[in-house]
Amino acid sequence: MTEPEQSRPTPMVSAQGVHKSFGALEVLKGITLDVAPGEVMCLVGPSGSGKSTFLRCINHLETVNAGRLYVDGVLVGYHERRGKLHEMHPRDAARQRRTIGMVFQRFNLFPHMTALENIAEAPVVVQGRRKAEAATQARDLLARVGLADKAQAYPAQLSGGQQQRVAIARALAMQPRLMLFDEPTSALDPELVGEVLDVMRQLADEGMTMIVVTHEMGFAREVGDQLVFMDAGVVVEAGPPRAVLADPQHERTRAFLSKVL
């Protein structure tokens, strides 16, 4: 067990040499990084670099093959007893995920439920809260993402930007301590990107710990506390966004940024 230093608070996320392979393909080749509480970390890099896989490892949608991953000081996906790792029961993994919100590139709203039902579903089913209470909270969250008038709309009747805002509200309904965003604006029409980024910016201002996989360098510069550039399964470069974007130290970072900026 690695004891965190006394002077610093426990990191919200701590990755220590995280490896992940799919069959013969090694996607993550030792990722080491810390995300402090309240910090916004932006993960950038070319497609196939392992950003999304790393994000999915954090809430155990993928199982780590080597290294350790801690969320709020708790090991993800395994129980550690007397120096041995034990596979985690799916029920316990589900419990771990409750405090981690995730927003997907393709929204993944539940199409058979209205916007309100999408948001109120997990609090009722997973946390066992009362329906009326969950509905009130869902209405508040819809208002927060600017969709108070869309409570009764089904996802198919909403624009991409509106769907993604509902998806953010749905994740927030579980009162997460950490939010993961997996390319939240990549599937959106350009004119709809802004409304989603605004909601995320507001969330960051409120002090939410966030890890954002994104191609929106403007967002990374303005909102991010830390920018991590990944390529081919490793962290190539990390630091304050303005510094990394203005003066990248590595050739690969420079090559990537020259294409996206």
């Binding site: 949608l61 799916p90 997907f104 579903e121 997990a122 198919a156 009747q157």
Partner: protein, 302 residues
């Protein structure tokens, strides 16, 4: 020049092909109906006499009971088999495959004959420790009846088909749905019940409607057991001594038609229930709400 904002009033396209084909088909249909009405072989007076015969309606009820019970068994077992087939556990997967292989691979008629002979194969069912003491013993002959073997035989056979329908339905739900549910902390069972199965229903219901209607008619095969209280056997039994087979077949056909029609109506409403959210088309109520929002000065909505 006309004002471009006037609503368009176009001359409708003429469709002579439609009119001609409709006239031909309606004439043919009328000729057939006329022929049937005047053909003595159909013996309509006998048809009328037996259409509402109490023995017939009682037999129709037996047919309906068999259908419903067998389908309930088939759906429950089918969901179980489908889930087994999709599970990570290789033993469960293999067992499910074996079940499908056997029950789909042999004719339902043969299976029903087999169920009819079951009492001569298994006299007793013992529940207890294998090779050890038994706690409860059933005498199969006492407990079982032809009716019971009929719905068991039909239900077990149908379960194999339902399993494939349910599996197709589950597979049709996007993987992202399961992921989103997992990410919210739902367990596998919660995800299945609340997220996957309700969406799979859209794909499951139409072929299941087919199966129910097919089952209603397959019940006529239980004569293999033999069970002779259902609609077809009863109609034959009434017809034989009075030498009036054709009108009684028509009576049976009429009852089958009425029952399938009722089932089709039920299917329509089920489909409508489970299609919520599947279309971008808004209900008239939602459209009215939107129109109302448009009338209001900007700044009120999104």
């Amino acid at each position: 020049m006309t004002d471009p904002s006037t609503p368009i009033k176009a001359v409708p396209l003429r469709r002579p092909g439609r009119w001609i084909s409709a006239a031909v088909l309606v004439t043919l249909l009328f000729l057939f109906a006329w022929g049937a009405a005047t053909n003595d072989a159909y013996d309509w007076p006998t048809y009328g006499k037996y259409l509402f015969d109490q023995r017939i309606s009682a037999a129709a009820l037996v047919t309906l009971e068999l259908t419903v019970i067998a389908m309930v068994i088939a759906v429950v077992l089918g969901v179980l088999l489908a889930v087994m087939r999709l599970s990570d556990n290789p033993v469960l997967r293999g067992l499910s495959w074996l079940y499908l292989w056997f029950f789909r691979g042999t004719p339902v008629y043969v299976q029903l004959v087999f169920w009819g002979l079951i009492t001569s194969i298994y006299q007793q069912v013992r529940i207890g420790i294998p090779w050890g003491p038994s706690f409860v013993t059933f005498d199969v002959r006492e407990v079982g009846s032809a009716f019971m073997f009929a719905f068991i035989g039909l239900g077990l056979n149908e379960a194999a088909y339902m399993a494939e329908i349910v599996r197709a339905g589950i597979r049709s739900v996007d993987e992202g749905q399961t992921e989103a549910a997992s990410a919210l902390g739902m367990t596998w069972l919660q995800t299945m019940r609340r997220i996957v199965l309700p969406q799979a229903m859209r794909v499951i219901i139409p072929p299941t409607g087919n199966e129910v209607i097919s089952m209603l008619k397959t019940t006529s095969l239980v004569v293999a057991i033999p069970l002779t209280t259902e609609l077809y056997s009863r109609a034959r039994a009434i017809a034989t001594p009075i030498f009036r087979v054709i009108p009684l077949l028509l009576v049976a056909a009429t009852w089958y038609l009425v029952m399938t029609s009722v089932l089709m109506v039920a299917q329509y409403y089920l489909e409508r229930h489970f299609s919520r959210g599947s279309s971008r088309t808004m209900s008239s109520r939602q459209l009215a709400a939107l129109a109302k929002a448009q009338e209001q000065p900007p700044g009120g909505g999104s």
